[in-house]
């Protein structure tokens, strides 16, 4: 069965340091991949998406992700964390069928 694994349930970084949130997907078929962010008591917002164009995808708020087919990974990064980045992040994969597969989420904690 297809699956998405977010390798860390919690990531804690200091403000101003780099952020890395890891996501691996199970299938080598051509997927579309998304990162969504959810701030406390807010709805889900699209950060960025990969749909078979450039492998390095830039999103909002300085985030970017690199699609690596050989590693079946789509890790989310940001060079310098800001307090406003504290939120939960979800990696989502979809294939040519209708199914959307969600990761369990990674809670990003920013230390002052």
């Amino acid at each position: 069965a297809q699956s998405v694994t977010q390798l860390d349930s919690h990531v804690s970084v200091s403000e101003g340091t780099p952020v890395l949130l890891r996501c691996n997907y199970s299938s080598s078929y051509s997927p579309s991949l998304f990162w969504y962010v959810q701030h406390p008591n807010k709805g889900l917002q699209l950060l960025l998406k990969y749909t078979s164009a450039a492998t390095l995808v830039k999103g909002i708020n300085g985030f970017e992700a690199e699609f690596k087919k050989s590693e079946t990974s789509f890790h989310l990064t940001k060079p310098s964390a800001h307090m406003s980045d504290a939120a939960e992040y979800f990696c989502v994969v979809t294939y040519s069928n209708y199914q959307l597969i969600w990761g369990a989420g990674t809670k990003l904690i920013i230390k002052p």
């Binding site: 709805g43 294939y95 209708y98 959307l100």
Partner: protein
């Protein structure tokens, strides 16, 4: 363009009562999803519609939950009777079409508290 509209934003009911949530997707979006998100967890798919047909309702507790999208536009999710464990945020999302690989657009959600 207008986003996904949901109402009500908040609802408090007692167990065994009923509740209904409404969703109006982005205009022209054929695919509509209802998700349940319990505090501290990721979204769980309840039901997916393509136009007015059900594509996936395998995780919908059909003894108490029902959903419809009669004209293939807006949708209603009903819970009857509610249980304590139904306390959650109910998220509606839409997408351009069944074969689309585009993103989901989410509403603000409807927060249900069952006492």
């Amino acid at each position: 363009e207008a986003g996904v509209a949901q109402s009500p934003r908040y609802k408090i009911i007692e167990k065994r009562q009923s509740v209904a949530f409404w969703c109006n997707p982005i205009s022209g979006h054929a695919t509509l999803y209802w998700y349940q998100q319990i505090l501290g967890q990721g979204p769980k798919l309840l039901i997916q519609f393509q136009n007015n047909g059900v594509v996936d309702d395998s995780q919908l507790p059909k003894d108490r939950f029902s959903a419809e999208r009669l004209k293939g536009v807006d949708s209603t999710l009903k819970i009857q009777p509610a249980k304590l464990e139904d306390s959650a945020v109910y998220l509606c999302a839409s997408r351009a079409g069944l074969g689309s690989t585009g993103e989901l657009f989410f509403g603000e959600g409807s927060r249900l508290t069952v006492l």
